[in-house]
Amino acid sequence: MADADGALGALVAIAVGILALAFPFAASGYHIYQGAQVLILAVALLGLNLLTGFNGQISLGHGAFFAIGSYGAAILMVKFGFPYWAAIPLASVVCFIAGFLFGFPALRFGGLYLALATFALAVATPQILSYKGFDALTGGSQGLTLAKPGVPFGIALTPDQWLYLVCLACAAALYWAARNLVRGRIGRALVAIRDQPIAAETMGINAALYKTTCFGVSALYAGVAGGLSTLAVGFVSPESFGLALSLAFLVGIVVGGLASLGGALFGALFIEFVPNIADQLTVSFGDGAKALPGAIYGALLILVMAAMPTGVAGAARAAARALTPSRQPKVETGGVNVAVNYEGKEKSP
C-alpha cells in the first residue's frame, strides 16, 4: 500500500471520527436518532461486507441475523431483565452461532444458490418470528416494547445523545476489529478463498473453517446492529424484519463499495436518507404518486451500479488515486491489496 494512500486514508478516518463525535452536540434529537440509525446500519453493513465483499459469499438474508440480535436482546431485556450492555453481547453470540451453523450448508452451494437460499431465509423470517410456539417469548404480533436506556452516572447528556454515543463506540470498535481482521492473515485468506478457492486450498488454507467462521462473524455484526436497533427504536415486532431489510443491506454494501470497510458508512447514509429524498421528489407529482419513491429507489440502484460499479468508496479511491501522482507502479503479487476491486464473474456450478 503506497504511503500516500495510507496517509490520506488516516486523515479521512480522523476527520470522520471528529465529525461523528461532534455531531450529537450540534444536532437536534430527531437528527441524533437518525445518526444513531446510520451507525447501526453501518455496523450491519460492515458485517455483510466481510462476508460478501471480502469472502465472496452472497447473502440476501442478513435481515434474519439482524432480527435474531434484535429479538434476542429484546427478550433478554424485557423477559429476563438483563441490562442492555449484557443483553446485546449475549444476543450477538447467539447470532454468531446461528451464522456459523448456517455456514455449513452454505459451503455446499455457492454463488447464486447461496443468494437464493438466503433470499428464501429473508422472506421466511417474519413468518418464523410470528410462529405461535414462540409467542410467550416474543410477544407474538404485539411485539415487545422497551424503554430507552437511561444515561448512567448522571452525565449531562440526553438519552438520545447517550444512545448515539453507545452506537458510535460499538461502531468504532467493530470497525477497528474488522480492519485488523482484513489486513492480517485472515483477511488475505478470505480474499484468496473468494478469488481462487482451489489455489487457496492447495496452499493449505482450511476453506471450510474460514468460510463458516466468516459467516458467523458477519452474523455477529448483524446481531450487534440488531441489538442496538432494539435500543434505539424501543420496539420489536415481526413486521420490522421483512425482505425489505435484507435487500436494503445488500444495496448498502454495493453502493458503499464491496470489499471496502469505509464504504459501510456511505452505504448506511444512502439507505437511511435516499428513500426520504425519493419521498420529497414525488411531492411535485401530487398525492397520488406516493407509491413512486420505490421506483425511484430502484432506478437509483441501477444507475449507481452503472455509473459506479465499485461503489462510492471505489469511486472515491479512484479519484484519490487520480489526484495523487504515483511514484511507483502498484504491484499486486501474492499479497493481496486490501482495498481490492471486486472482479471476476463467478460461474455457478
Binding site: I58, A120, A124, L258, G298
Partner: protein, 307 residues
C-alpha cells in the same frame, strides 16, 4: 361423535379424511401449476444467461396488469392474453438490451442488485398506475367445478393444462428448433458460438423475452386464484424458486415437476405436519435441503468443477 360408534361411522370418518386429503392434493396441484410456470421462466433465463432473475415475479405481475387494463378497455380475454404475451416478450428483450446487458461483465452481485432494482421499479410503477387495492381478474376457464365434489375448479384445471402446454412448447423450442439450439450453445459456450456465427448478444435478449412471456402466462394463470394486486407474486416467486431448485434449474421438466411438487408438498406438510402458518419455512427448508444433498436438483445435470 367421539363415543363408541359402529363401523360405518369410522369408515365415514375415513372417507372424510380421504376427501380432505384429496382436496389438499388437488389445491396443491393447482397452485403448483402456477409455481411450475414461474419456475419455467426462471429456468429459461438461467439457461440463457446463467443468472437467476429475482425480478421475475414483479415482471409477471406487471404483465398481468397490462392484460387487465386491456380487458378493462373492453378487449376479449384471448386477445388480451396473446397481446400481453407478445408485449411481454418485447418488454423482456428491451430490458435485457437496456438494463441487463451493460452489466454483462460486472460481478454477479451487480446483476443481483440490478434485478432487485428492477423488481422495486415494477412494483412501484404498478402501484402508481393501478393502485394497491385488490382487483379480480377473469379466467378463460369458467363454469362449474369439475369432478362433482369440487376438488379442483375449472380454472385450476385449466391452469395445469396451460402449464403442460407451455412446457411442451419450451421443450420443443429448445430441442427441435435451430434457434433453440443456438440459444443453448450461446449459454454454454459463448466464445465458440460466436466463432460459429451465432449472435450471442441477441440470444440472451431472446432468452429474456421468452422468460418474460412465460412469466406473463404465469401471472395470468395465478391472478384468478390469488387475485390481482401489486404484491401478489412475492410468495409465488419464493415457491417457484424452491420448485426450480428442487427440480433442477437447468431442466425445464425438472422445473415443472419441482413447482408442482412444492405446491403439493407445501399443502400436505402445512395441513398435516407443521401447521399452515410456516409454509414459507417449508419452502426454505426444501431449498436448503436440496442444495445440500443434491445441488443440481432432482433432474438437473450434475456439473463437476474443473480443477
Amino acid at each position: 361423535m367421539r363415543c363408541a360408534a359402529p363401523i360405518s361411522a369410522t369408515s365415514e370418518g375415513a372417507l372424510k379424511r380421504l376427501a380432505e386429503f384429496l382436496h389438499q392434493l388437488a389445491s396443491g396441484l393447482a397452485l403448483g401449476g402456477v409455481y411450475a410456470i414461474m419456475a419455467l421462466a426462471l429456468v429459461m433465463i438461467y439457461q440463457a444467461t446463467h443468472l437467476i432473475n429475482f425480478a421475475q415475479g414483479e415482471m409477471a405481475m406487471f404483465s398481468t396488469y397490462f392484460a387487465w387494463k386491456l380487458m378493462d378497455l373492453g378487449e376479449p380475454y384471448w386477445f388480451a392474453f396473446f397481446a400481453t404475451v407478445i408485449a411481454s416478450f418485447i418488454g423482456g428483450v428491451v430490458i435485457e438490451r437496456l438494463v441487463v446487458r451493460p452489466f454483462a461483465n460486472a460481478p454477479i452481485l451487480a446483476s443481483v442488485i440490478v434485478f432487485i432494482g428492477l423488481s422495486l421499479i415494477f412494483n412501484s410503477l404498478a402501484g402508481w398506475l393501478y393502485g394497491f387495492s385488490v382487483t379480480s381478474f377473469d379466467s378463460p376457464f369458467n363454469g362449474r367445478p369439475w369432478f362433482g365434489a369440487g376438488y379442483i375448479s375449472a380454472h385450476e384445471a385449466g391452469a395445469v393444462v396451460v402449464t403442460l402446454c407451455v412446457l411442451a412448447l419450451v421443450y420443443a423450442f429448445f430441442r427441435l428448433t435451430p434457434l433453440g439450439l443456438a440459444m443453448r450453445a450461446a449459454a454454454q459456450n459463448p466464445v465458440s458460438s460466436r466463432l460459429v456465427g451465432i449472435r450471442v448478444g441477441w440470444m440472451l435478449a431472446i432468452g429474456w423475452g421468452l422468460a418474460a412471456a412465460i412469466g406473463s402466462v404465469a401471472g395470468m394463470m395465478a391472478a384468478p386464484i390469488v387475485y390481482l394486486d401489486p404484491n401478489m407474486m412475492g410468495g409465488v416467486l419464493l415457491y417457484a424458486f424452491a420448485g426450480a431448485v428442487l427440480g433442477g434449474i437447468d431442466n425445464p421438466f425438472g422445473a415443472v415437476f419441482g413447482g408442482i411438487a412444492v405446491g403439493v408438498l407445501g399443502n400436505l406438510i402445512g395441513a398435516y405436519v407443521v401447521g399452515d402458518e410456516v409454509k414459507l419455512s417449508v419452502a426454505l427448508a426444501i431449498i436448503i435441503a436440496v442444495l445440500v444433498w443434491r445441488p443440481s436438483g432432482l433432474f438437473g445435470r450434475r456439473l463437476v468443477a474443473r480443477v
